[in-house]
């Protein structure tokens, strides 16, 4: 079973639990990598989950303390790229989708991706052509999906995204503080969390992680990504880089954007971000990002675009 087959399996099952997903991934590994070699440092099921989420194939959410997944409806993301139109298949898939897309006589090119289902790209000179292909293949058209998503996402410092919380008690927690200057996690203490301000703390136990944002004597539980960019903004740290020539949107790997911002960036090309080590630091690159999308994304992250 490959990642493509994993998506077929998910599409046929429609939804399931996290353990089911892990079982399916384990079979994937068992079938494809009989020697048991772990290809990456990151567990494969986490890699696949991340990519499936980024590419809009499936949603993973925790309901009632139970993590579940559900496959998203099939969508053809339509983008205008300098006079031509690009269609990117996202969401659920069936075995005949490739045939449907290929039979349209357009520029269909499945692109193999690492730890993700193939990117199914269709190029056309007219948007009408893509609409016909989508209708034939049973796909829903989503025009300018990146912009549409970014148009719905609130910025990272929206107050209602922050959930008030008390500083965790007990000695079981290992406390770390996110350093906006060094862009890493530094050892800290609960006392520092009680006295610090405009800081992001991580309270980690053996089986649990809590991210705590301290601001003005108040404490909020935030997602890791949101908390980091909030702190970066408070410390006026600019981390986003954009190369307009190639449409590359870059971030330090420790500062990945929140899910939907990242999904918008990924859907600009239909490919997951590239990981690269530059000057000893990990950097993720999102390719094919138009300037308008880069600006919108940076604004949501409260960052400025720098070349």
């Amino acid at each position: 079973m490959s990642a493509n087959e994993l998506l077929f399996w998910m599409s046929a099952r429609r939804e399931g639990s996290w353990p089911q997903f892990r079982s399916a991934v384990a079979k994937l590994v068992a079938d494809d990598e009989k020697d048991g070699t772990n290809p990456t440092e990151i567990p494969l099921h986490q890699l696949l989950r991340s990519n499936l989420q980024r590419l809009g194939h499936a949603e993973f959410a925790s309901t009632d303390q139970v993590l579940r997944w559900r496959v998203a409806p099939p969508v053809l993301v339509v983008l205008e790229l300098g006079g031509t139109w690009l269609g990117i298949a996202s969401g659920a898939r069936h075995a005949g989708l490739n045939i449907d897309l290929a039979s349209a006589g357009l520029g269909f090119s499945p692109v193999a991706l690492a730890h993700a289902p193939d990117a199914l790209l269709v190029r056309a000179t007219e948007v009408n052509q893509l609409e016909r292909v989508a209708e034939k293949a049973g796909l829903t058209i989503q025009h300018e999906a990146p912009a549409a998503i970014l148009g719905c996402v609130p910025p990272i410092d929206t107050k209602h995204l922050l959930t008030p919380i008390a500083v965790p008690l007990g000695s079981k927690w290992r406390v770390e503080r996110f350093s906006p200057e060094r862009l890493n996690w530094a050892v800290s203490s609960r006392q520092e969390a009680l006295t610090g301000s405009e800081q992001l703390f991580r309270f980690e136990s053996e089986y649990e992680k809590n991210y705590l944002l301290s601001t003005g004597g108040h404490y909020f539980r935030v997602s890791q990504q949101v908390g980091k960019f909030v702190v970066l903004r408070r410390h006026h740290r600019k981390v986003v880089r954009y190369d307009a020539a190639v449409g590359r949107f870059s971030l330090p790997s420790i500062c990945r954007p929140p899910l939907l911002v990242e999904r918008a960036l990924v859907l600009c090309s239909g490919r997951p971000p590239r990981y690269e080590i530059t000057e000893g630091r990990g950097v993720v690159h999102y390719d094919g990002v138009p300037l308008s999308i880069a600006i919108s994304a940076a604004s949501l992250l409260r960052q400025e675009l720098r070349a």
Partner: protein
Amino acid sequence: MTSPKVPVFAGIIIVVATVGVVLVVLLFARMRARRATSSTAKARAQAETRKRAIEEEARRQAAAAQREAMLAQLAARREALAKRRAEAPRGAPLTVPAESLPQAPSLPEALTRHQVSMPESAQPRDAGIRHSSVVGPSRISIRADEAPSAAENGQGSQSTSSVPTSETSSEVAAKSDGLRILGSESAEPDESSLALDTQPAVGRLGSVPNELGREASTAQSSEVNAEAAPAKTKGGGPEVFAVEPCKAPPPVGIHPAITHSVPEPSEQRESVCFVQVPETGAELDSTNANVQTPEVAEAEVGDSESTVETPPVGVSGPVAITDSPPPRSAASDTIDNAVALATPGQPTDRETASNVAEVAGEMESPADGGPTNLASNPEGMAAALPQGTHAGVEASSLMRGDSHDSPREPADAVSAAEPKALADVVSGDSIETQRNEVRLFPESDSTSGETEPTTDDLQQLSDVAASAQEDDTAAPKQRRYRMLSRNPAQARPPPRQVPSRTVDRGAPVDVRLSFGRDGRCAISLVPRRTDAMPPTVTVSRRGHDLELIEMQEGWYEDVFIEDLGAELKSGVFWEGRSQVGDKFRWSLGGRDVFVLAAHSQLSGFVDTNRLELNERHVVLCTEEMEPAVQAILTSAGVVGTTQFTSQQGAPRGWIALRNVIPRRVVEPPEVADRLDCLRPVADAELTLEGGVRLQGNTWLAGFPPSIRIRGDALMVGEVRIDGKVAIQNNSSAFQSEDWDTLGSHFVACSVGTATYILVEPERDWRAWPAHNWTLGEDEAAAKLADRPSVCGALVMPPAARSTTSASVVVPLTNSVVLGALPGEMEVCKPMHDRTSKHCVGFPAFRPVWALPLDAMHCKKKTSGVIFLAPSLIPAPSRADARRTPLHGGVLAWCNAILSASRKGLVPTSGDPAVAALWASYRDTARLLRRRLR
């Protein structure tokens, strides 16, 4: 003057008085007659009672005399036996003349045959009584020593010893001082185990080779007529059986039950006998003893069979035992067992008890149809064994019979004048416990509702086990007597189904090994999870808590242990409780060699049973075992393995061998050993692998399973799919015509069958608001329905709109979206962030134009009219415009177009067709505007 009426009155009075007197007299007379009648009846009854008492006393005296005679015979026989033993040279079998055996009291002369069997290679030579499962087919495995007299009698390799059952029992009883029956007394006892299989088989005797290569002649040893009083031995000698000194008591464990059933003419009665056996490994015969009389019980001895034909209880008939000891097993010496047979379900009878108590247990006395509760201890057995009773048991056993509903207390069956041992045996409430003691539990019938020993029973067995380890001189323990069931035995119930809840509470722990890119391996323990187990549970491990968290279906997360090597060697046992108090446990047997293979549900390599041909494995073994492991792997054709030591991630003291792909079958040795898991066997299995399996045997169409033969594929002939011959493709998977079409398919070959179904899933995936926000306004929760949401790559309109329109993204400068029809207008809300360049709208119409919200005040150089439609959608014609109902929406639509027109905005596309279209819309707006005026 006297009245003439006076005499009349006087006369009347006289008459009345006279009549009254007469009546009184008659009354008294009647009363006397009644008294006389009752006293006569009482006198008769008393006389009758006295007469019966006299008769009863006479019977008792006769019975007592008979018992005395029997006991005297037994005592004499014991002395003779002891004398023979003392005189016989060491190693020589001890023969006991049949005529020296006591004659059993009268019992029906039915024939009881017991098949005595012994497990094969797994059976230790010194097996002793081994037996069994709690329920199920009954067989009593009895230790038998070296084949008896045949060899000494010059019978070559044929050895047949025929002894009366009672003699065997007596011998067993006499063996209370440490002798063992059915074996020659030798310095190196060649012991074998006899299993008294009480299946109602027709009398036959197996032909079994003995330790010395002799093979008992079935013809000579079998079909012994139970009515023939003297036992026969081939060669004309007396029936013999060897007696061997018992060795020191080995460690013993609780052995399962032996079921001993004695059928009545129309039904079968059963009892369960628990036998204590030494913990000598896996050699125990795990069958039940089921003695059925009159039947034949066959005894399998080692890899051979012995048949013991036993006459029914009380019948002085011969018992033919042919046995041959199994291969010598060093792990199984020094076992002394005794068997006590119990016959439940029949009424206890005093005479029967006095007859049979004797035997090693409880046997039915067909004479009266009542049950015989038998218990034996060395003395009691010796004293109680009559000729013709069940044989082949060692005397150093004790038994306890259970009769749950016997109307009579066992103690009643034995008079106080009888020997204490016998009384103990029969009463069952005080039985000396010695090594190799046997416990008999009645297997409950359907009416009793019991199918296996109770906890109390098991506890008592534990006591027996503990006591058996004690010295022979240990004080006897009191054993509680249990009545035998008198309920008619029913058909044997099926093996008890362990409640699933109990099963679910125990789960194994698997060993998992993964290789990393850094050239190291990581080994973990993966506890399995059943449906009954909680997602998270805390277990105790060596005094420390360990939390198990669900990883995936069927497994908890990996557990990495620092000193894993020791735990792999000694085994793992974890126990934990859920929040509701349910108790769970996990275990892994300790070994020094593990075979790991790819798993269908777990990545890496997971421990499995054994190496399979042509499959890739990892062998994990201790450093001490490595030479032996390597030698076997070499013989299996394994080449090119890679070794991982503790430096590369293997546990301390262990070695992991990677790329172990056996190519050849390795014949296992005659004696099983722990390295058998490294010897591939010539076996094959039909498997369905890969594909996209949805559930069970259902696969996704287009992704069928690969049909393969694992193991030795050469032994598999033709493979057919849906009846069509399948051929192997390049990847060795079998395929045939239409094997991957929708529907059910059936695969068949010589090693198995399989079914798989290919289905096409429905394509009705629906979107749902996976992500939505309130964009930061107040009353956040109330605003959710007014906000768009995101599902995958799809941006969905607010739920409150109940529209199916797709989202449209327009520049923030052109937030007004117009449709083709007058009145179709949507103002996209500007982005929440001023720096954003776009806004999102969800028009309920097909958008054609995007105009500035305030066209009159926009920058003409940077603003324009954006054409949104994928094709040219013409504006309404003049006629349509005239018929269009006018309302505020139409006015707004017209004003937006006219304002942009007045500002001089033009379509940004530069396409003349679009410009012309824009002009037509402008004309239509003007027309409508005029109408509105």
